[in-house]
Subunit: 341 residues, 4 copies
C-alpha cells in the first residue's frame, strides 16, 4: 500500500541515522547541554542570520506550540489565530489546557489577514468592556498554513508591524517550514522569518527528522526561564543530544532545504497528474499538500490501492481529501499514483 496521507510516514533522512550511529556511544550531558545541540544552534542561527537568537529543541509540534504560547502569554492573555490554525482546531485544546483562550479570526485560504488582526485589536480596545475580556497577548500563524498556503514577505511584514504596534509577539509555527522555503511561489527566506517573527519554530518531524522541532527566539530576553517552562510542560528531552544531532545534520550543507525541495518537485508532478486526469482541486497550493474534491465512491475505489487523508466533508456525496508529498516521496510513488488515479 502506498501512502500519501501526510509528510510523517517514513523515518528519517539516512544521514541522520548515520550520525546517530556514529555518535551512539559518546557520552554527553543531558537536557540539551551537549556539543551537538551547541553546534546545531550555531548553524541555525547562521542560517537565520540571527546571531542573537536563542534556540531550543522540543520533541513535537503541539508540545512546541503550547509551550511557546504559554510562555509568551501572561495568565490573563489569549493568542490570536486563524480559525483553521492548528492550535485552534487540531491540538485537542493544548493551549486552553495551559489556561489561555485561542482568539480565532476568519481565515483567507488558511491565512490570517493583517487587516483583520488590526481591526480586531482596534475594536477590542475601543470596547468599553475590554478589561472584562481576554486580552490579546500574541499572534499565531503557521507557514505553510494547514491548507498548504504561504504568506508573502509583504504579508509577514504587515503582520509583524501590527504586532509591534500593539507590543505583542508574532509566533510562527513552521512545522512544514522547509516546504514553504523551497516552494516555487515564495519570496520568503529563513532570514525574513527571523526578521519578522519574535518566535518561530523550524519543523523537523515533517521534514526529515525522526522527530523534533527547533524553536528560534529572535528577540533577546523575550522569554525568561524558558528552560524551566519547557521542563514544566514535560517537553524537555533527557537525551537532548538526539534532537541536537538531528538538527546539526539537517543544517549541514543545506540538507534541510535540499530534502524539502524534493517534496515540492514531487508535489508539482502530483498536481500535473491530478490536472491531467481532471480531478477537481479544492485548494491547489504551492507546497507539499494538495486538496482534492472526490466523490465518496471514487474514494472508496482508490482506497483499495492507495492511502490518503480525509480532510472535510464537501457535500453528501463528496469529500475533500488531502494528498501530501514529503522529503521522502519517490518518483516510483508518483508514477504509481499516476497509474492508479
Amino acid at each position: 500500500m502506498r501512502f500519501f496521507d501526510s509528510d510523517y510516514l517514513e523515518g528519517a533522512h539516512p544521514a541522520i541515522l548515520q550520525k546517530l550511529m556514529e555518535t551512539n556511544f559518546e557520552q554527553t550531558p543531558g537536557y540539551g547541554c551537549d556539543k551537538y545541540c551547541d553546534s546545531a544552534k550555531e548553524k541555525i542561527k547562521a542560517a537565520c542570520k540571527a546571531p542573537q537568537a536563542q534556540i531550543y529543541f522540543i520533541s513535537g509540534g503541539t508540545q512546541t506550540n503550547a509551550t511557546v504560547v504559554d510562555a509568551l502569554l501572561a495568565s490573563y492573555q489569549g493568542v490570536i489565530a486563524a480559525q483553521t490554525g492548528h492550535i485552534a482546531a487540531h491540538e485537542a485544546g493544548a493551549v486552553e489546557f495551559c489556561g489561555h483562550k485561542v482568539i480565532t479570526l476568519p481565515q483567507q485560504q488558511g491565512k490570517l489577514n493583517a487587516t483583520d488582526v488590526q481591526d480586531y485589536l482596534e475594536t477590542f480596545y475601543a470596547d468599553e468592556n475590554w478589561e472584562h475580556m481576554v486580552i490579546p497577548g500574541a499572534v499565531y500563524i503557521s507557514h505553510p498554513t494547514e491548507w498548504g498556503t504561504l504568506y508573502t514577505k509583504e504579508e509577514l511584514k504587515n503582520l509583524s508591524e501590527i504586532c509591534h504596534k500593539y507590543d505583542i509577539p508574532l509566533f510562527l509555527d513552521g512545522a512544514r517550514l522547509g516546504y514553504g522555503l523551497t516552494s516555487d511561489d515564495t519570496d520568503v527566506t529563513l532570514p525574513d522569518i527571523a526578521k519578522y517573527c519574535d518566535v518561530f519554530y523550524i519543523g523537523g518531524t515533517k521534514v526529515g527528522a525522526l522527530f523534533g522541532e527547533a524553536v528560534v527566539i529572535t528577540k533577546e530576553n523575550l522569554i525568561p526561564h524558558f528552560f524551566t517552562t519547557i521542563k514544566q510542560h514535560g517537553a524537555l528531552l533527557a537525551k537532548g543530544r538526539i534532537l541536537g544531532i538531528q538538527f546539526d545534520v539537517l543544517f549541514t550543507d543545506d540538507l534541510y532545504l535540499k530534502i524539502s525541495r524534493n517534496a515540492i518537485e514531487k508535489a508539482n508532478r502530483l498536481k500535473e497528474i491530478f490536472h491531467k486526469k481532471n480531478y477537481k482541486f479544492y485548494m491547489e497550493t504551492p507546497t507539499n499538500q494538495q486538496f482534492i474534491v472526490m466523490s465518496n465512491d471514487k474514494i472508496k475505489e482508490l482506497k483499495q490501492k492507495i492511502s490518503f487523508g480525509f480532510w472535510e466533508k464537501y457535500d453528501d456525496t463528496h469529500t475533500v481529501v488531502r494528498f501530501a508529498t514529503s522529503w521522502a516521496t519517490t518518483d516510483e510513488a508518483i508514477n504509481e499514483l499516476d497509474t492508479i488515479l
Copy 2:
C-alpha cells in the same frame, strides 16, 4: 444622573435587607450549612418542582459559570456555546483558565440553535481526526440570552434531547432568569427549565439580591464533590447564610417573580417610548434589555443627562447601545427618560 446601563445598579430588595437586619446577630455555621440555606434550598426545589435537585449558592455569575462548567467537564473536554455566550465573550477567559475550550457556534439572535449543535456533534464524530480535537462535553446556553432573547419550550426541549442523545449535560446560565420567566412572550416556566436542563442557575445579583446565584443540579450524582470544587475555585462563601437568607426571601411568596415582573413592565413602557420617538431598534426583546442604534452625536448629547451602555460599534457614525430595566426601575425613571429622549 439616571442610569439605564444594566440591572445591577441598585442594592437589594428591601425585604432582603430587612431579613439581614433581623438575623444579623444569630450565630450559624459557615459555608452554607445553616438553616437559612436549608430553607432556601427547599423553597427553590419546590419552585422548580424538582425534589431531587441539589442546590448550591455562589457569589457571582462568572464564578458560577466557570465552576459549574469545570465541574461538568473532563480534563479533555470543552463546552459548546453561542459565539455571543457570556462565557465565550465577556468573562475574561474564566473557562479557559480552568483548562477548557469554549467551542463557539453561530448564534441566532443570541441563541444556540439545536440543529447547529446536532450538526456540530455529527460532523465532529464523523471526522476521522476527532480524537485529536477537543471533545464536546457540555452545552452552555443563557436564558435570557446576552441579547435579551428567550428560548421557547420547544427549543429547550430540542437542545435537551440532542444533549442527552450524545450524553452531555445541558447547562443554563440564568443570570437574568427572572426576567425571562416573567416576560409576556414566553412559554417556559421554572419547572420546564429544571426538566430540560441538567444544571442551571437562578440569578440573584441582577434580580433583587445584593449578590449571589443559586445553582440547581437537577440530576442526582451528576457532580461528585461539588462542594470541594466550589472551594477550590475560591467560590465558597464563608458566611454562606448571607446567600441563603437572600434566596430564602426571594423565594418566599413568589417575591422573585413579582420583582422580576416590574422590570418587564418598565421595559414595555421603555419600548413604547423608543418607538414613539422613532428610535431604531437593533434588537427589540421580550425581556429587560433593549438594544438601540444611535448616532454617536445623539449618544454624546444624551449622556449629559442619562447613562446607558455601549454595546458594539454599528458603523463609523453609529453605535448599538443598551438600555436595561430591573426589579428596581421606577415609573419616575421611565417618565424622566421619556422627557429626555
Copy 3:
C-alpha cells in the same frame, strides 16, 4: 446553642447594614468603579500611610489568596508558605488549581521563619538542578497565623529583606488582620505591614463585614491588569459597591480597629476562664483564637451545650479544639461559657 467555632458566625456590624440601607436605592456603576469604593480606597490608603497603594475588593479569602498569588507568579514559579499556611492546607488546592506549587517550609508556632526562607532560597540556587525545579516566586505569610500567632515587626522586616534580596514579593494574608493589630502583644501597625509587604489583604469577612477582603498592593505596577485577572478568576463582584460600602464604614472613625479590639478583650477573658478551670492549652495566643487539648469525652459532654471547632487529633483519647472570639462576641457569651466549662 452558643457558638465559639469561628469568627464568622454572625452577620455584619450594624453600621454596615445601616449604610447598606441608606444607600440601597442609589444607582452606581458596577465592578468597583463607584464612589463608595473610591472613598473606601482613600481611607484605607490613609490608614496604611500608603498613598501610592492600589486597592481592590474581593469577596472571600481563598479567592483573594489564589487570585493574588496567581497574579504575582510567573507560570513556572511557586509560592513559599509555612506547612500550616492556609493556602497550603485548607483551600482545597486553589493555588495548585491556578498551576502553581505551594512550596512548604516548616512552621514555628504557625509562623514562617526568615532564616528558613533564606536557607531554602540559598540551597535552591546552590542546587545544580534548580532549573529543573519550581522556581520560588513569592512568599506567603498570614498575620495572625492559622494558629493565632503574630509576627513581630523585626520578623516582618527580616522576611521582607530576604524577599527583596531575591527580588520576590512578600504577600501577607490578613484574613484576621484586625485581631493582630489590636492584640496586647504586638508591635506591628497597619503602616508597618504596608511598609514591609508588597501585597497584603485586610480581612473583612472575619472582622465585621458580611463578606469581603481589601487587597492592598503597596508597590506601583507590581501587578499589571489585575482587574482582568480578578475577573478571569471569577472574583470580580458585579455590585462592587457592596464591598466598597462595607470597607468605607469599617475605615471610618477607626471602626475596624475598635470592633477588632472587642475580640481581643473577650479572648483575654476566655483565656482566664480556661486557666482558672485548669484546661490544657495546646496553643495560647495573643489574638482571638485559642487552642485547647480536651479529652474526647469532655468534648462530647460540652458539645451538648456549646459549639466549638475540631482542630486536629491530639492522641487516641484527646483532641485539639479551637475556641474563637470575634468582633461580635458578647460578655453574656463569655459568662455562659464560664458556667458551662
Copy 4:
C-alpha cells in the same frame, strides 16, 4: 572525560538503531497506530502477563508522569507521593501545572510507607474539614526510587491494598524499572508490578532507548479518552512508530532485562571499588545509582578526570554525589574509575 552522572549519557542499544535503519523507508500511519506499536504492545502485555492491559508510548518521563497523573485525577483531587518523589521535587511543578497538588508524605530511603499512606487517608477523612482540603485521588511511587532503592513485593502489595481500600489508583513510575527488575536484591517481577499497580510505566530513556516510556494501564476503562489527553498534553508523538520500534526491540528476546542487568553488574563492581577505597556511602543501593559522601576538595580533584552528579549538600565541607551505571557502562569505564578514585 568519563561520565558517571546518570543513565542517559549514551544513545541507544545498537539493535534499536539497526531496526530504525531497516524500517526507515517503510510507510506507516502516525500517532502510534502502526504495526510496530501493535507488536510492541503485544510483547509488553505478554511480559507483564496482563493481556487486558492497554499500552501507550510517550516521549519522556516528566511528560508521562504529568499526563498519567492528570488523567487519573478529578479536578479537585491531588496525588500522594514521597517528599523525594520525582513529581514532587524535580519536575518543575509539571503536576501542579495540570492543576493538582502533590501531597507529600515522609520517605523511608526514598520509599513511601504503606502505613504512612493509611494513616494519612484515615486522618484526612477523620478531619471534619476534609471537604475543604485537596482530596487524595491517586498514589505515586517510583521503582527504583530516586534514591535507587526498591519496594519489596510485600510493600507493593500493602500499598496496593490500601489504595484499593480507598478506591484510588496506584501509579508506579518505572523510569529505571529495568534496573529494579534485575537487581540482586529484589523479589518483584514485571507481572507483580502489573498485578499490584493500576498504572505504571516502563522506562526506555534510561534503559537503552533513544527516548520513550511505555505506559501500562492494567485496569480496563480506568482512563477514558487517554489518547486525547495525551494529545492535549502535547505528549502524542506524530511518528509513533519510532517509539513502537524501540520497545518492540527492547521486548524481543528479553533484551530489556539483559541490558538492564549490565548496569547492575557494573554497579556491583563500582560499589566494591568505593568500599575498597573506604569512601563513605550516603546510600548504598541494590540498583544502578550509588550515593557517596565526598569532601568538596576531593570532588574538585576528581572532577578533573571524571564527571558525576551533585546530589545534595551534606555539610559545609562535604557533598552527597551520585555515581550511576547504565545498560551502556563498560568494564573499561569501571577500570578507569578504579584507577582514578
